[in-house]
Amino acid sequence: MIAVYWQTAMAWLTQLEPHFAPLQVAIPLIAAPICVLIRQRRIAWFFTLVVTWVTFAIAVALLVQVRSSGDISYAIGGWEPPWGIEYKVDLLSALVLVIVAGIAAAVMPFARVSVEREVPNPRIYLFYTMYLLSLAGLLGITITGDAFNLFVFLEISSLSSYVLISLGRDTRALTAAFRYLILGTLGATFYVIGVGMLYMMTGTLNIADLATRLPALQNLRVVEAALAFLLVGVGLKLALFPLHTWLPNAYAFAPTVATIFIAATATKVSVYVMIRLLYTLFGGTDFFATTGVDEALVGLGMVGMIAAALIAIFQRNVKRLLAYSSVSQIGYMVLGLALGNVAGLTAAILHIVYHALMKAALFMAVGCATTQARVVQIEDLAGLGRQMPVTMASMVVGILSLIGVPLTVGFVSKWYLLQAAFVAGDWAIALVIVASGLIAAVYGWRVIEAAYFTDAPEGRAEVAEAPLSMLVPLWLLTGLCVLLALNAEWTMTLAEEAARALMNGAAAGVVP
């Protein structure tokens, strides 16, 4: 009997398999309104949990498909590209899909307790609705092969994350969300202006198609301006250093689950978009070499790495500290992708994956501490090293990884970034990279010192360790931070292959 059901299910799956690409986005997108209808908070939570896990399974299946049978191209509604919308999965996008869906799935078991603590109960189902919408948006950005469709998903994910942030109990969450809304909308507008200019010149919106047409037009000022608009727009979304001002408050005052999810995925997806723009969309042109885009990005990346880390030293709020650390770490990725060699691009892709893992783990640890001991400021961590040993141990691993200490993933990507700097023959860059790590040691150490070497304040009630539903996801991610460093080969091969494919694609485009 069971065997029959099993066979039917398998047959069904096999039929569905070619449609995994659209399902990747469609499932969370359709699930979101259903979540509104559910209303009951526990059921909404469970429903979201199932949806995210299915989404994650599909993402993994897509990665396996890409590894075994090459890039996937799916014409939505049967309209062949470049006329219709194309969904395109190559190694890079498959990797980003897995990390985004994976984080979303890992956060869900953690979310139940944390969300009930931090979001007003009647609005919890709305939280999960927005969570699903945001996930759908981010996956859509990653998977689509259409420049305008990308804008649509960008808006879906952004609008839903404004709501996610504003659901925080702290009233400052509202101003933080509003600020993000203004700047995020500006970013999206810049992006769509850029896309509009390209459409005006080429008459196409398909990214692959654009890539083949742009080399012939690269002397036109309009195309140059389009690149500028696109980069500034995406730069705003990924919080590239001087455009980062929306990020710290948004991270600090949002509900912890929203912070974990947005910090680990939203900026990473924007970095992915930047890689796509530079290496695929404009890959065939020699803009990279002639316009000074690379130098500008290298410079901004480096300034961000140092400046944001320095600001982080002076933060008292733990989440704000981690937020500035994120801005600094984004600098690593931008620097890596702008160095223009395989090692650098590999480092950037690796850091997308690794930073997602470690920041998610770190914010989860903070979430545990907040739930159990109402931790907001660094001083509130005092004595928790003894009272919440499991949570704090994970925090230490996360911080060591931010610093880039060996045996953590942070070290692996930093190692590749250093290689990239040497390949590029630039000394100063190598020094900036290590200097940024050292500043991370300073702000990270403040947290560790508070947790382990300061006694708990008199009169605080006994603090219990966080529940298992929070600790298991926390240590799942923390464990990955160490395991993927002990055997970096797996992620590294993927990232390097993806980087090479991008480079080769770009190089091939030069020859018309």
Partner: protein
Amino acid sequence: MIGFGASELTEALALLSAWQALPLTVLVPALGALLILLTGRWPNLRDSITIATSLTLLWLVLPILIDVAQGGRPGNRLVEIFPGLPLAFKAEPLGATFAAVASILWLATSFYGIGYMRGHHEENQTRFFACFAVAIAATMGIALSANMMTLFIFYEVLSVSTYPLVTHSGTDEAKRAGRVYLGILLGTSIGLQLVAIAWTWTVAGTLDFEAGGILAGHVSEVTVAVLLALYIFGIGKAAIMPFHRWLPSAMVAPTPVSALLHAVAVVKAGVFTVVKVVVYIFGLDLVASSTMGLALAYLAAASILIASLVAMTKDNLKARLAYSTVSQLSYITLGAMLATSAGVLGGGLHIVMHAFGKITLFFCAGAIMVAAHKTEISDMRGLGRRMPFTFVAFFVAAISIIGLPPMGGAWSKWLLALAAAEREHVLLLATYMISSLLNIAYLVPIAVRGFMPAAGEGMGEGWRIREAPMFCVVPLCLTALATLVLFFAADPLLAFLEPIAPPTPEAP
């Protein structure tokens, strides 16, 4: 000599093969640390585990020593971190020697530490012994690593794991000192050493320690100079000036920590890495021909003299010993920078000799603190009459540090001076000699005045012996005795070390 009866010994003690033992030397102390944490509630059981772990470690190091003495170079690779860059172990004479010294002295320190911590009523003893075991695991990893990446990883583990030991007392002063400690060690290693390692990997395509070095033929004169400076300053644990401040800071730690970690494991890990980099990454020829090598040799010489002079001004015994260590470490760095066979072998030998001498001195300082609660040298006059064993041991170890026969330190200083003479640098030779004189001036009076009557007492006062606990006194007598034994055992030890830098490489 070590080869004699090796097979019988192997059988009698049921020793493992060397390659099997290699990763276990790291794993066993690490597991020991875990057990110590778990048994923290029962102090006697916990401390027995410390002893048992250190005995097991000795049992593991023995087969490695035997194999290396017979010319073997056992290796074991665990996991590939990056393609071509594994986490791997490989024993060679220098590393095996360092591992042996650290594990032998860990046993001594375990006994001593138990006596000291209980005698001194220290808190958080469980954390203390657990971190200690992790530090030893890291030291083993450094000593027996097969490539620079593995070494670097354990180097960092050692820095981080010793931080809780330095800040053990938890006072604000300890925390400040801990920040200086970790700041300098992490700062130099990540800021300079890591850059050097990454650069080496980029130009040489490997980080394996290979006889003759891996850089030769891949780099220009200028690159060698920059890389050498990055390495030498980046290895902060070698405490070459101006990156020496962490060592005096670390003296806020309980004395067993100062004794084993800041006279043996941590600081020796530094100079060990220096020698290792010079011999197996650069190769002697490359360093010998580099002007930077010479410049760094002079810097090391300056370090030797300045640290000795500072030591003379210190009245706190541990602070004086710390500056003495800074000075003695630069002996080894200087030997390595001279890049001759005698310099490298002398440096290797000095790692051993200084370890036994300095740990004895620290043991004595701790014993005095436990028994008489004295930390300042000016208060120690006449104390030798109460603590004769401690003060005799102090005297013996001081003679070894100074480098006078019949103590082990004589040989290493002889070889180092020989190296300076070979390279015809009169100033460097003079540095070694002047520094020995300074050593006499700041070490011997402490022991001698201990036997003089304290102010206001007549010579006729009786000798009422009130020594520190046996757990403290016996280990320090044994290590003092060892400095004497090493004088006579120097020849086989030298023969053991010789393959790392054969005296006449041209001869067939």
